[in-house]
Symmetry: C2
Subunit: 204 residues, 2 copies
DNA sequence: GTCTATAGACTGATAGAC
DNA sequence: GTCTATCAGTCTATAGAC
């Protein structure tokens, strides 16, 4: 009633319903967290009955896990892309950092996802690990690859990749996730410039 | 019943009781988050009756806010201290970063606090802002001061401070809060060394 | 008629508040 | 300790495909 719903009805129920339920679950879980979400509201948001939810997912925990695992892979791709960028290392880094930050800062859903993922990582440690594996690890590896370019002359590209990633993600957490824009304001460009300066200053 | 509690009883009820309730609330809220915590369990953990809880705090939300504001100022001090360190900038930075990481990584309560703070920052935006003000801002300012040392020759110390802070905090989030030690393992020393290298490499 | 998937009421437990 | 609301999860009756 509250939400939109199925345009084309029935036929090939299973896949559509699952997707529909996940969509409703995403709305609710991202907004209210795990404990704050009721299965009744998930069902309403998805436009199906509770029995339908329970026929496709084992229980609240199972639905939550499937949802977050799906979101983890989706978010990872949308933010850092699968771009095989070529060119001067300094320019690549600048471009990757700019794009990643822009993506994160303009995606409210991503802020909500970060809140839930970190907030529930105590209750669902194995889920947090899956998301680290799906999001942090591949990005860190990609950045390591870029930072390993000989002309950058970086002694520990892997650790430096963690610094770069941490600077970007923590900036997002501070400014958007925790609503700190007015408390500790800073333009994205300043962060990016300072980052690229740190990484490339001896190669100028 | 479950938890320890008041050794000395009654007399000067008010202050003791409030502290006692906050202690019980901390146990519960840090472990289960806001929505996952019941006032019954807070009362039990605090060793008082529910009526006592409600006589000292307006409601669940009020108790939660008071608790987190108190924790924010406490955590800030314990991790970055109020050390007025003197000496060579490079050495200072190395020392500050090492100590901060060590403090964070060895404090399970701090991991739990980060989870709750970030996890509830959607529901309590003004509370998140208060914590940014109390924790991020002063630390960023302190680091900015160190990074502004002329011999470091850093064009934007403020932005660089955010990078430094972000690298440290995100490392903590990845390794401890999200349980990623086994997924993306890395020694703290490598991070610290790479950080100090980035910041000081042109002044060696 | 039969069968599958569905809706919506139902249950026992537990929540916040006083 | 009481009260009302709401929770997760279940059950029953039914709607529609074949």
């Amino acid at each position: 009633m509250v939400r939109i719903k199925a345009d084309e009805v029935d036929r090939d129920n299973s896949v559509d319903k699952v997707e529909q339920i996940l969509q409703g679950a995403m709305q609710e879980f991202l907004q209210h967290g795990y404990a704050g979400t009721s299965m009744d509201r998930v069902a309403v948001a998805a436009g199906v009955s509770k029995a339908t939810v329970y026929s496709h997912f084992q229980d609240k925990e199972g639905l939550f896990k499937v949802l977050l695992e799906q979101l983890a892979s989706k978010k990872n791709i949308s933010i850092f892309g699968t771009e095989p960028i070529e060119g001067e290392p300094a320019a690549i880094l600048h471009q990757v950092a700019t794009k990643a930050l822009e993506q994160m800062l303009n995606d409210k859903e991503h802020s909500a996802f970060m809140r839930v993922l970190i907030g529930e990582s105590g209750r669902f440690p194995e889920l947090a690990q899956i998301c680290v594996q799906a999001m942090i690890k591949p990005v860190a590896e990609t950045l390591t690859h870029y930072l390993a370019a000989p002309e950058l002359n970086i002694p520990d590209p892997e650790a430096t990749a963690r610094i770069l990633l941490g600077a970007l993600v923590h900036f997002h957490i501070t400014q958007n996730v925790m609503h700190g824009q007015d408390i500790v304001p800073m333009e994205s460009d300043r962060l990016i410039d300072a980052l690229t300066h740190l990484i490339t200053k001896c190669t100028d």
